[in-house]
Symmetry: C2
Subunit: 360 residues, 2 copies
């Protein structure tokens, strides 16, 4: 495994910028910290692999005790199944076509333990019809306050019942995405627990057992109510990013993913870098203080972002023209999906972003 | 050439969503309209290929009379040179390393007419030292009000003089990116002309000829001051996007690039689509009314965007679960860079996004 070398090495200076760099020591520490916390709390950890899309990172997670992986798309499931991952949950309310159902059946036939999300009676009926006899299970998605997908938790039993005659119902899940707000981490975890408890009761009223109540996000992880949740699915915790830094859920010292960028200009007395939105992604949440941060200059802010330019303002002397700086993307998941490889600080061989672009 | 079939065909219904669709009739009309306007105005059109990264689209542009292509990176230049494009301008203030200079020399040695940007005396000295005798020319970038890269136009002669002893100086260029504001299109074009006129005078004061004064952006294109500019470098005009639609620089009927998405949920009485930020990009300018638009539902707005969910609000009945809609990304350049292929409405064979991810 390419992450296995014990000897840290600096990134190859000759590598052309911009590129994504993984601090392997920090990555390992992040993986082990979350695995330890989940084990102590008695919840299963099923990390979301959309963050890294990397077989190398998935192996670290599974070796540390992850119960399986979460993915967002059938394409991601196929990529990780091909790499030998045997337990996958597509945490998304897929709208099944015959073609999509055939691909899921093929994965199950190959021995993968597989579940998908549903969030409506019609979606559940469709899954029951198209996946009957496949061994694929469904998990009912409920809305815990993020207001994206997911049904009302009180209706989870109706959704589950629409599939239950035809295929297995594993349980209920939610994504407490409203944890991504400056003061929302603990309250989102409370909402998550309440929604999952309501959903569990709704299934049980319909005579259906709930094997798994699954939630989790990186910002809310430390507040997980383990009396209700059986499983958590954080993704970002492996790398961290400027969002986690600014939300206070990960300190800068834990951030394992940066874009290595060259200072190409001092135009206007500011720092102009060659890593733009086609490297960092353009995510900018309402609470973000800029388009990204500089790891070694905590007072700097990326105040302007184009496809191939990031403009930073910072106090004090500017890093020299031609020097390299480490840029922390706002959202690591979208940055990773823009790269073909991640460059580890240990081992020398780039890690392929195997599931990059597997959106369908 | 794959765009050459005369018979329109509907997109293959079996193709899994999400994917990017190119309306070839609209694309051709956009290419020909800009080529005709440039010819009438007597300015050279050197389209920015970072928008499409596609050899198929580049061929349409060159067949319509483009003088060559603009690119943002050496990697893009290599991709288009390999496809046979013989005249390339890297409109970016590259900070040259030995490795980057070697790659540029190799392109020039292969017969490509090549120029790169410089925006500082030190950058120009470096280009002169590392590219002497290569045949590669430099073009001095000046800031016309976008305040990204580019030197003060009054200092353009100093920058040019720092290279002129060693390599050829072709002229001056700017990107009037502040045209991307609701009322900024005409005024940005005036700023562009003024900056280029000042820069031209600065070079001439230093005893240097200016063969090309180059500008252009899609929003400002109709306002180009052709008494000053010799060349324009718009990119987005080939496809259009929600930004151009909202700025008023391209009508919805000209938009040639959309993401085909499936309605996966009606959670909360809203439309949830399977094309998220990993397909559309997360660009959202201050003036944007949402994260994207729906081509066939002008009153709809994408009010929430995650990696694999776009949530739309619209008046009237929601399109059915499982139906497909055409999503207009806010910024076509970043959407294209997320895809491996573009699916044309004519010809059947997907067009590779050849220069995707070529950031360095």
């Amino acid at each position: 495994m390419s992450a296995g070398s014990p000897t840290p090495e600096p990134p190859t200076p000759a590598l052309p910028t911009p590129y994504l760099r993984v601090d392997v020591d920090r990555l390992r520490a992040n993986v082990e910290r979350a695995a330890g916390a989940a084990a102590t709390a008695g919840v299963a950890l099923r990390p979301h692999a959309k963050t890294h899309k990397s077989v190398d990172v998935a192996r670290l997670q599974l070796e540390a005790g992850a119960a399986g992986l979460t993915v967002a798309t059938v394409g991601e499931a196929e990529a990780f199944a091909e790499a030998g991952v045997g337990d996958l949950f597509v945490a998304y309310p897929l709208w099944l076509t015959d073609a999509l159902a055939d691909r899921l059946r093929a994965l199950a036939d190959a021995g993968v333990r597989l579940a998908i999300g549903v969030d409506s009676v019609r979606g559940a009926q469709s899954a029951g019809r198209l996946l009957a006899g496949s061994g694929v299970e469904v998990v009912v998605e409920v809305d815990s306050g993020h207001h994206r997908s997911g049904c009302d938790p009180r209706l989870a039993g109706d959704v589950a019942a629409a599939a239950a005659g035809a295929i297995g119902v594993r349980g209920v899940f939610t994504f407490p995405g409203h944890s991504y707000s400056p003061d929302g981490r603990a309250s989102a975890a409370r909402d998550e627990a309440q929604a999952l408890a309501t959903a569990r009761a709704s299934l049980e009223s319909a005579g259906l057992a709930v094997a798994v109540a699954s939630g989790g996000s990186t910002p809310s992880l430390a507040h997980t109510e383990t009396t209700v949740l059986d499983e958590v699915r954080p993704g970002v915790y492996v790398f961290g990013d400027a969002q986690q830094w600014e939300l206070g859920s990960m300190p800068a010292d834990d951030i394992a993913l940066t874009a290595v960028a060259t200072v190409v200009s001092h135009a206007g007395g500011r720092l102009v870098l060659d890593a733009g939105s086609k490297v960092l992604g353009a995510d900018r949440a309402a609470y973000a203080t800029g388009f990204g941060r500089l790891l070694e200059h905590p007072d700097a802010r990326l105040v302007q972002l184009s496809e191939h330019h990031a403009v930073a303002e910072l106090p004090g002397p500017l890093p020299a023209l031609g020097s390299r700086v480490l840029v922390v993307p706002n959202h690591c998941c979208t940055a990773v999906n823009l790269a073909d490889v991640l460059v580890p600080t240990v081992g020398g061989t780039p890690w392929p972003v195997t599931a990059r672009g597997r959106n369908g």
